[in-house]
Symmetry: C2
């Protein structure tokens, strides 16, 4: 692997990185704003907690740890309940406090419901959780957050900017965030990687040679490989059974490795900033020259949380993809797009039409009972022998991918996911050039990516 | 396997078989004719052999063994040369004698050249061979024939009609004959099977359960299975290394088994007589409803012996079939048809047209060197990661099976067989309905079979 060495990397890295920092580090103004909001929140929460003896509050997350990137200031205020509190009590009081503290508020859901809102124009989450002795006894995932904070807080000091570089690098590649839509790197995972590798620069160099199955034991300061790990396993220092990278998909991992290699060989500040895709493609011409069939299934966006929606879309996508494959339409690609009120499942097949006749495999000639059954089945054509085995021609159910998709959606909507199945009955099926008339914001960019057009 | 028992088989068999015999056993007239021709041949050959001291003659084959079926009288006269004769001497003199004995003669070729002709209207072969001590020392396959005759002649007595029933049964199914075109059962193989199983009736019952890999040791009176045998191995009683069924294809074996099962479950005299295929199909309508693409490659028939021609056609057929498959046209079927002066290779694909875009598989993301090579290849589309592996879209060379076939014939004619490659340059390619205008005698029947239409 001598081939991929860049002896000038360190030097080139240092040369560009200062300019990058000026663009991703929060301004003094932003920091000041954060401090002001924190003080205001503290005032409000102290006042309210007087009514709830036994409850405590803590500021957690990237703001108190100084690892947020410019323009992404968000403050997490955790309300800690004693261990013996009933769960519905915690939820009720947690929401109540949140509602009283925040302006422009809305309820959201992680492990518990919580309240998201704004204070003095800054985004704030008020999250209830249990105050526990050890992270191994947590009742839900948010209960771990205080332990994460305590583990990272002191250790990360002096490395905050490395975390910020990593976050910006990931954001630019579309793999920052552990939510299902992204299946990328969480903020906490970023911090642990910087702690383990010491710096962003070193992480880049090491990640060039990452392989699936890698296990990083941050607290134990060692790494090794395991066959039971699909992508990456980062052992949580506060709970050794937990994989901090559990939501990282193999493709997000691979994409990170790709970006690290490209950056290592040719360091450039562009790696930290999302490129605006300029659409200068004649998409109609492109669809014409591809000669494929493109099908879009469009339906109302169900009113459910994103993670749930994306899980169901992923499921629906693979179900229909496999059905197209099983019916010989040779699908090339499948994807989904979500707008404010619509969902689009998109499929591209290499076949626009296939013969009505197909070939069915039967048993070897020796198996008299099976041969008999096979020959007796009602078919428009006679069975025949080829290389000692019976075969027969028969008719296909579908000769176009449209027919297959329609059939599947109408016959097996349930298998497409609970909420999708409730809305998909009134779907619309667009084919080929007609999809270009779909005027949903962002859809064209999605299509350019879907078609793998060169930027 | 209790399911397939016919306790009445013996009785039903006996009931129909007498009528079958009246139709397949030679008439007294035909036998008389044979005897007359034999006497005439004997007169002629004795006269000629006076000039060739040391040469002998023998009548071999189905006529002296009484195992020919009605209408198939053919007399084989072998000229036996001393072992020390030079091969070209044997050939020269053999042909000379044949020419002098026969009327309406033509030269043919088996292991040596020989002369085929007629005497008093009956077909006669005059075949030169060596007179040897043992069949294990033969110089060419025909030298074995006298040994076969000697082994069978006395043993087959009393079972001649069983051999005839078997031959008629095989002929009706199109699997009588060891030539490449048929790849079925030779006359000698029929005799050995009857000797081993004792009777045609018993052979039918036993063959219902034949399996590939069966070895029948006729002289050793035992059978067993071998993994090294593709279809059937019948040990030659005069040369234990030789498989008498060497030319029997697995499909002819399977077809025989199928016919035996059908006949066993429902004995009927129709099994002994070839059904005339009545074409009452609307072939144009059939092609339309299939929705397939049918392609016929037509070229001059090369002037070579049948076995050689059919071997090359088989080769050309599979080469083109595999090429269509490799290019994703999903071929259903392939075949060939030979008329007096034309050869037709026929292909049927499930795809009439495929997208220009295809998906190319690349390396797993870990393999940096390969990934780099893969990404650097010039393509109209960018590479992408799926399930931890690189892929890319690229353009196909062919979007129709016609293009693929043309390309292959024009670029790699040599691989289609020596003689075919010499004539195929001036080929004609017909597609779909146009093949129905091919007015070659027998082609329509071939097509009905090719399409697996129900009779």
């Amino acid at each position: 692997m001598v081939k991929f060495q860049n002896p000038d990397f360190d030097e080139e890295f240092d040369r560009i990185i200062e300019e990058v920092k000026t663009k991703i580090l929060p301004t003094d103004e932003e920091e000041l704003k954060g401090t002001e909001v924190k003080q205001e929140l503290e005032k409000r929460v102290k006042n309210i907690l007087k009514e709830y003896p036994g409850l405590k509050y803590r500021f957690l997350g990237s703001f108190p740890r100084n690892t947020w990137i410019k323009g992404n200031l968000e403050i997490d205020l955790f309300i800690l309940f004693p261990e013996e509190t009933e769960e519905d009590e915690l939820e009720r009081i947690g929401l109540e406090i949140g509602r009283r503290i925040l302006d422009e508020r809305e309820e959201r859901f992680a492990s518990h419901p919580y309240v998201h809102g704004k204070v003095m124009g800054v985004e704030v989450d008020v999250v209830p959780c249990y105050e526990l002795e050890s992270a191994e006894k947590i009742k839900s995932a948010v209960d771990r957050t205080p332990f994460h904070h305590d583990w990272v807080k002191e250790r990360i000091k002096g490395k905050e900017d490395d975390v910020r570089l990593l976050k910006a690098f990931l954001k630019a590649s579309g793999i920052y965030g552990a939510e299902y839509k992204v299946r990328g790197f969480s903020g906490y995972l970023c911090e642990l990687l910087i702690l383990y590798y010491g710096s962003f620069k070193n992480l880049v160099k090491r990640a060039c040679r990452w392989r699936r199955g890698l296990v990083i034991d941050v607290a134990g300061e060692k790494e090794y490989f395991s066959d039971n790990v699909e992508a990456l396993f980062v052992v949580d220092p506060v709970d050794s059974k937990r994989n901090v990278a559990a939501n990282l998909s193999i493709d997000s991992m691979a994409k990170f490795v790709e970006k690290c290699r490209d950056f290592y060989l040719k360091p450039d500040k562009d790696f930290f900033f999302k490129k605006e895709l300029e659409i200068c493609f004649n998409l109609k011409e492109e669809l014409k020259r591809r000669g494929t069939q493109i099908l879009a299934v469009i339906f109302e966006r169900p009113n459910i949380v994103e993670d749930n929606l994306y899980t169901q879309l992923e499921r629906a996508k693979s179900k229909l993809f496999e059905f197209l494959k099983a019916n010989d339409f040779m699908p090339l690609n499948a994807g989904y797009f979500v707008s404010e009120d619509k969902c689009v499942l998109l499929f591209e097949t290499q076949m626009r039409e296939i013969s009505r006749v197909k070939k069915v495999i039967g048993p070897p000639f020796e198996e008299w009972v099976h041969v008999n059954k096979f020959k007796e089945r009602k078919r428009p054509y006679r069975a025949f022998i080829e290389n000692g085995r019976y075969y027969a021609f028969d008719w296909r159910k579908f000769t176009t991918p449209q027919q297959a998709i329609k059939h599947y959606i109408e016959q097996s909507p349930k298998s497409l996911g609970k909420n999708i199945s409730q809305v998909i009955s009134s779907y619309e099926l667009l084919e080929n050039y007609d999809i270009l008339n779909l005027k949903l914001p962002g859809f064209e960019e999605f299509l350019v990516d879907f078609l793998k057009l060169k930027g």
